[in-house]
């Protein structure tokens, strides 16, 4: 055995080498299990579809893409260890991150330290890309979503008094709430209550009874659909008739299954709309339905865009080093994505417009587009 060992080592090394030259290894981590797994699963479907398409068309630089996906179980520390494993063990040349901002904040500094380009499909918290110059994202950031909804509430719905109900455990929800609060007040509106809950709660009647006593014209709830459905039901049970508003965390078919009639007629800001007439969008929806037999949500669309932007940058890069790919990613301009024309600015954030959607049973009615 002792004599065999060096030979085995050489064989193993050769095996590793031949594998690396034939394909481009890209890593992805996301929550495939855990409480917000539907987000992770959607995003992952978009990413997989993009790479499958590219591989079917001949790959990048004549090489096939091999995607390695790890599960972060919806935990920040798992996202960090998955990133480390992808870089040190799987030797990936670039990473596509997960949905949740908290997890991206844990993973991005690790990618930055190893100088591996990192593209987040849908983490909207502003701090995510501040981890360094290798960290990019293809979605807009929280201040923009908060601003969009504040503008819409004040100018389109003409609301005067609004209450906020935020998920205090969630960076995303806190970020949106803070910006909404400031922007709504700047536009002459009044915030009459600012209360919080925690992801995983099922009873919100204490907060809602408190909000009811302030009789607001609208309630801003930038949380995830898992809780928003129950909140909407309980709000209507308590006789609160004011419209509810939220962010892209509402975007799931489950929202109306949980919320039933209570969630109908309410508004949220989002990255894209399935009602768009843009051929890029209709084509994407058609292909996605054929592959997975379901309508793609915004997270799937963003995962798809993130994967394609990364693939395009790798194609343009002179070699496969982290630096070369990073430089090409930074040059992304007017990329015709499913979620709109994407330009990455000097902060490595995407500049693009947002849409306002109204819930109507299973349908999502497009109301208006709000530009940056």
């Amino acid at each position: 055995m002792k004599r065999l060992l060096p030979i085995l080592c050489v064989l193993f090394f050769l095996g590793a080498c031949t594998k690396n030259t034939n394909e481009i290894v890209i890593g992805e981590y996301d929550s495939l299990t855990g409480s917000d797994a539907t987000f992770g699963l959607s995003s992952n479907k978009g990413v997989r579809m993009a790479f499958d398409e590219i591989n079917d068309a001949g790959g990048i630089k004549g090489k096939k893409i091999s995607l390695i996906t790890l599960d972060d179980q919806g935990k920040n520390e798992e996202a960090a260890s998955a990133t480390t494993r992808l870089i040190t063990h799987n030797k990936v040349i670039a990473i596509i991150g997960g949905v949740a901002s908290g997890r991206s904040k844990a993973a991005a500094p690790i990618a930055q330290a190893h100088k591996v380009p990192f593209v987040s499909p849908s983490s909207t918290n502003p701090d995510v890309t501040k981890a360094g110059d290798y960290i990019f994202r293809v979605c807009f950031i929280d201040p923009f979503q908060g601003l969009v909804m504040a503008k819409f509430a004040r100018e389109n719905l003409n609301l005067k008094k609004v209450a906020i109900l935020r998920d205090v455990k969630n960076d995303y929800s806190v970020g949106l709430s803070n910006v909404f609060k400031r922007e709504f007040a700047d536009r002459g509106g009044q915030i009459v209550a600012d209360l919080s809950y925690q992801a995983g709660d099922i009873d919100f009647k204490a907060q809602l009874t408190e909000i009811r006593s302030k009789s607001p014209d609208g309630i801003y709830i930038p949380g995830y659909y898992t809780e928003v459905g129950l909140i909407a039901q309980q709000a209507r049970q308590l006789g609160i008739k004011a419209p509810l508003m939220g962010g892209d965390g509402w975007d799931s078919d489950k929202l109306s299954e949980i919320g039933k009639q209570a969630i109908d007629g309410n508004y949220y800001s989002n990255h894209y709309t399935t009602e768009s007439a843009d051929p890029a969008v209709t084509e994407f929806i058609k292909k996605f339905k054929a592959k997975y037999n379901e309508t793609p949500d915004a997270l799937a669309a963003l995962g798809y865009d993130a994967a394609r932007i990364l693939a395009q940058a790798i194609e343009r890069a002179p070699d496969l080093s982290g630096k070369a790919i990073r430089d090409e990613l930074a040059k992304t301009k007017d990329f015709p994505g499913v979620t709109g024309k994407i330009t990455l600015n000097e902060n490595r954030d995407a500049v693009k417009s947002a849409v306002i959607i109204q819930v109507e049973g299973k349908n999502r009615k497009f109301i208006t587009t709000i530009n940056p």
């Binding site: 929550s31 495939l32 299990t33 855990g34 409480s35 797994a37 539907t38 699963l41 205090v168 209360l195 919080s196 809950y197 925690q198 995983g200 709660d201 099922i202 009873d203 009647k205 204490a206 907060q207 009874t209 408190e210 009811r212 006593s213 898992t226 459905g229 129950l230 039901q233 049970q237 308590l238 006789g239 489950k254 299954e257 949980i258």
Partner: protein, 300 residues
């Protein structure tokens, strides 16, 4: 004033949900002096059992009291059977091992159920079918008392009385108390301890089944991690009331529900759990055995 009354109603309704689960914790502890951390996940499995049976039978189409009772029965059977299996294969082999080993095994079983649940049922939340329609029973001004709130409170009080009766007045109950005070002596006197302990688990777990259907009916969103937070709160409620004491579990749960509600209403929603658990610490400083723990001569 209206709001205050509404808060009281909300708090009691939330507390009675905690009570149903707290009863299971306290019962197993009372007899075996062990904390069954897997209890909250047995509760989760009960909810999924009811969910799948309801879908299979198409209960959505015919809501009513009969469907509710049937689902409760299904869930009780599923939970009771699971409780039996857990006791038989996880806890019984460790009966003679140090207390700490059983505690760690309980945590292991809990994680096992949570993560297998995610693999088997999928991690995304499911929507519990509408078993009964909720309606308003009483209104005074803007204050409303709804049928679900009263149902849950009623069921938890009835469950409490049944347990008291079972433990204090029946033959099995006497055997349970005997095992609780000294298992070795009890077995020498002809009590089949293995049987009694298994029975305790089955009863405790089927209570979780009742809870899961009522929670699913009131908050129609179930997922494999649904037991985690509610289980923790219910456990704390059981400790607050004096763990091992049946009435104490219900009292502790109502106090938990009310204090959470009042903290949100009059102090700060951000620090809800901090304040609610703070209240617990203060009570335990003055009454270390819990509110009713001290007075019960026989802990059951």
């Amino acid at each position: 004033m209206h709001d205050f009354v509404q808060h009281i109603i909300n708090g009691i309704s939330l507390g009675s949900i905690y009570a149903l689960i707290a009863l299971g914790y306290t019962m197993v502890y009372g007899i075996l002096k062990m904390i069954n951390f897997a209890h909250s996940d047995v509760y989760m499995i009960g909810a999924f059992a009811a969910y799948y049976v309801a879908r299979w039978l198409g209960i959505e189409a015919q809501p009513g009291i009969a469907s509710l009772l049937m689902l409760i029965l299904v869930s009780m059977l599923a939970c009771g059977f699971l409780g039996f299996l857990i006791e038989r294969f996880a806890y019984r082999p460790l009966r003679k091992a140090p207390k700490l080993n059983i505690l760690i095994t309980a945590i292991g079983v809990s994680l096992f159920l949570q993560y297998s649940g995610q693999v088997v049922f999928g991690a995304d939340p499911k929507v519990f079918p509408e078993v009964m329609t909720d309606y308003v029973l009483l209104t005074f001004g803007p204050v409303e008392l709804r049928s679900f709130d009263l149902t849950v409170l009623g069921v938890s009080l009835v469950a409490m009385l049944c347990l008291e009766f079972l433990i204090k007045k029946t033959k099995v109950g006497r055997a349970m108390r005997a095992v609780s005070s000294n298992a070795l002596v009890a077995s020498m006197l002809g009590v089949n301890t293995d049987k009694i302990i298994a029975f305790t688990f089955v009863v405790g777990s089927s209570l979780a089944g009742v809870g899961s259907v009522l929670v699913g009916m009131k908050y129609p969103k179930i997922d494999p991690l649904m037991g985690m937070m509610i289980g923790l709160k219910a456990f704390v409620a059981a400790v607050l009331g004096g763990i091992g004491n049946i009435g104490g579990a219900v009292l502790g749960a109502l106090i938990m529900g009310l204090s959470e509600e009042m903290v949100v209403a009059y102090l700060s929603s951000t620090y809800r759990d901090a304040f609610a658990f703070g209240i617990l610490i203060v009570i335990l400083i003055f009454k270390p055995a819990g509110l009713l723990g001290k007075y019960s001569v026989e802990k059951v």
